[in-house]
């Protein structure tokens, strides 16, 4: 039997890897991937807790998180393609039009 704290520690590690990737990488697509890593850390925590609490609520929540992650990936990558299409002919690595 694996103790709950192992799962929670692994979830923390996964979440922090995601945070680190989001803060250090400059490629938009890898930043989205880091968000997926963070969501997976949260999912692992929820599934472990729902197993140890003998409740299915955490697993339904994980189900919804996977749905929202799919929607987020579709929209985010659509925005990335649109940005790439419109900014490619100018400076590609300076997408700072929203900066004041």
């Amino acid at each position: 039997m694996i103790p709950l704290s192992w799962y929670m520690a692994l979830a923390v590690v996964l979440f922090c890897i995601g945070v680190c990737g989001f803060l250090t990488r400059r490629n938009v697509i890898v930043m989205f991937l880091s968000i997926e890593l963070m969501l997976n850390g949260v999912n692992l925590n929820l599934v472990a807790l729902s197993h140890f609490l003998e409740s299915l609520r955490g697993q339904t929540f994980t189900f919804f998180i996977i749905t929202v992650a799919a929607a987020e990936a579709a929209i985010g990558l659509g925005i990335a393609i649109a940005l790439y299409r419109s900014r490619r002919t100018v400076h590609v690595d300076s997408l700072n039009q929203l900066k004041g």
Binding site: I2, W6, M8, A9, L10, V12, V13, L14, F15, C16, I17, G18, V19, C20, G21, L23, T24, R26, N27, I29, V30, M31, L33, E36, L37, N40, N43, V47, S50, H51, L53, E54, S55, L56, R57, T60, F63, F64, I66, T67, V68, A69, A70, A71, A73, A74, I75, L77, G78, I79, A80, I81, A82, L83, S86, R87, R88, T89, V92, L95
Partner: protein
Amino acid sequence: MFDQLFFGYCALMITTSGILAISLRNPVHCVLMVLVLFFHMAGLYLTLQAEFLAAVQIIVYAGAILVLYLFVLFLVSIRQELQLDAFIPNPWVGRIIAVGLGAGLIYVIPAFTLGEKGAWPLAAIEELTHTKALGQELFTTSLLPFEIAGLILLVALIGGLVLARREEVGSVVNEGDAVPQGNAQGKDQEVVS
């Protein structure tokens, strides 16, 4: 004993492939590392008796979302990839923030105590099978969130269509003033549409 060994293997693979995924230079390699990570996450879900979620993890995450990432990576050419100015310019600041956050959270974990047990002990789930139990929970207690999830998927579908649509005026201007770029651009958009 076998459980602990399996957990150790999965944890090791998840950590290493996660670290590789955020540190490799080539984005395609990053996506493949995340694929390895998702498979091992599915293995961990199996140790938690969540078989349906393990299947969903492989089908939806590894099968659909990562393939979407790969398609976008092929559309956005690797050599001239899409980059933002880093949110925090010095990478060490980000790393220190992440490690500090992790240390703080792990420090807090031992203080956690389990609350009241819910209505689904393991024997009940095993008797009903996991998929059926999860379906019952989804369609009774959380029916409204389930409908909202469907709405979110619809919004994502329509949003993806709107974002991928070519704007008529913009494309005319583009073809007019960027003749040398016209070839590559036309090829990309053919693939999109």
